[in-house]
């Protein structure tokens, strides 16, 4: 099942998340948007880190650790915003 969300960040940027899930297992995730992230290719490491996580798990911590490992710097959004956008996507499948 593909779960999607659009999350408006305070300050104006937009994060779009596409979560592919099987049960509560995250098979893949894509994080799109008009934000800035340096270096840019760190987005793939962040997306990879979430693969295999469970929907109910601490996604904020997983993202935070991936950001830390990749040395990425975020501008216009935060780790919390990514987690919130993923949570929003996961809830879109509940209704």
């Amino acid at each position: 099942m593909l779960l999607r969300s659009e999350y408006k960040v305070k300050g104006g940027k937009l994060i779009k998340v596409a979560l592919e899930v099987e049960g509560d297992l995250i098979k893949s995730v894509k994080i799109y948007g008009d934000f800035f992230l340096y270096p840019e290719d760190a987005i793939e490491q962040i997306e990879q880190s979430i693969k295999g996580a469970r929907l109910g798990s601490d996604l904020r911590r997983i993202v935070a650790e991936a950001v830390e490992r990749s040395g990425a710097q975020l501008l216009g959004f935060s780790v919390e915003d990514i987690a919130a956008a993923m949570l929003l996507a996961s809830q879109s499948g509940l209704g």
Partner: protein, 256 residues
């Protein structure tokens, strides 16, 4: 050390993005000086940010029908409709270190501010009362006149941005994917209220050359350097020709 001004005129989307990356690459290798480049887009094109989804941001059918090219930038940020004759784009390439030696800044946001303030200095030469608005905009009385985006590689910054001369919001709404309600007359009016243009702020009689010269002088005064008009080097043209294929490839454009 003298900085360099390049006016490369009109180019297509792939060439425009390729030359920016070539300048960045050669600045990293110290083969070209700090560079301010100005250019326009022919044909009109949509550029999308590095992290954006092509299919969610762009109506490819509409682009094809209207002869509008689509390219993905190496910089983040949002989708831009670059109307041929409707805007002027600049790019600026300098290392963090050499920029900081001229104007101090703390972090990435600070570097956007410094470069945008140089742009503001240029716009003020034209009588446009512009100011920087975080994160990456330049506004006049709160209305956006310029959007900017940067990437950084090995200590070197490439920042590019578009400066609106006039708007064609109906076409912009056709080529960019916006929800149905956004295409209404009311929505078009809403965008017109949120953005402004050089022609509106100054006069539509202003020449493109005058705007370019104002930017050159604005950057030079803001950073306290001489910026001399040059032509691209042979190495830049060759490298850009290579990069162009990459930017024109479906693999890159539809990457996300």
């Amino acid at each position: 050390m003298t900085w360099r001004f390049l006016d490369t005129g009109e180019g297509d989307a792939y060439w425009n993005m390729a030359l920016d990356e070539a300048i960045l690459t050669l600045r990293i290798e110290d083969k070209v000086p700090v560079t301010l480049r100005v250019y326009s887009w022919r044909p009109s094109a949509v550029s999308i940010g590095y992290f954006q989804s092509l299919e969610e941001e762009v109506d490819l059918k509409a682009c094809k029908a209207l002869g509008v090219d689509v390219v993905r930038r190496i910089t983040g940020g949002g989708a831009v409709y670059h109307e041929c004759g409707g805007e002027l784009t600049y790019s600026f390439v300098a290392s963090e270190e050499e920029l900081r030696a001229k104007r101090f800044f703390k972090d990435i946001q600070g570097s956007y501010q410094v470069i945008c303030e140089a742009l503001v200095e240029g716009l003020r030469k034209l009588g446009v009362n512009a100011e920087f608005k975080p994160i990456n905009d330049v506004v006049v009385n709160g209305k956006k006149i310029s959007g900017n985006a940067q990437t950084r590689r090995r200590g070197v910054i490439l920042q590019h941005g578009t400066i609106l001369l006039k708007t064609d919001i109906p076409t912009m709404f056709k080529v960019l994917r916006v929800s149905k309600e956004k295409v209404s007359d009311k929505a078009i009016k809403a965008v017109e209220d949120r953005v402004t243009t050089i022609y509106r702020e100054v006069s539509s009689n202003i020449s493109l050359d005058d705007i370019k010269e104002a930017l050159r002088v604005g950057f030079a005064e803001y950073f306290g350097v001489e910026i001399r008009a040059c032509a691209p080097t042979r190495a830049e043209i060759d490298l850009a020709s290579q990069f162009r294929n990459h930017f024109a490839s479906w693999e890159w454009i539809a990457r996300r």
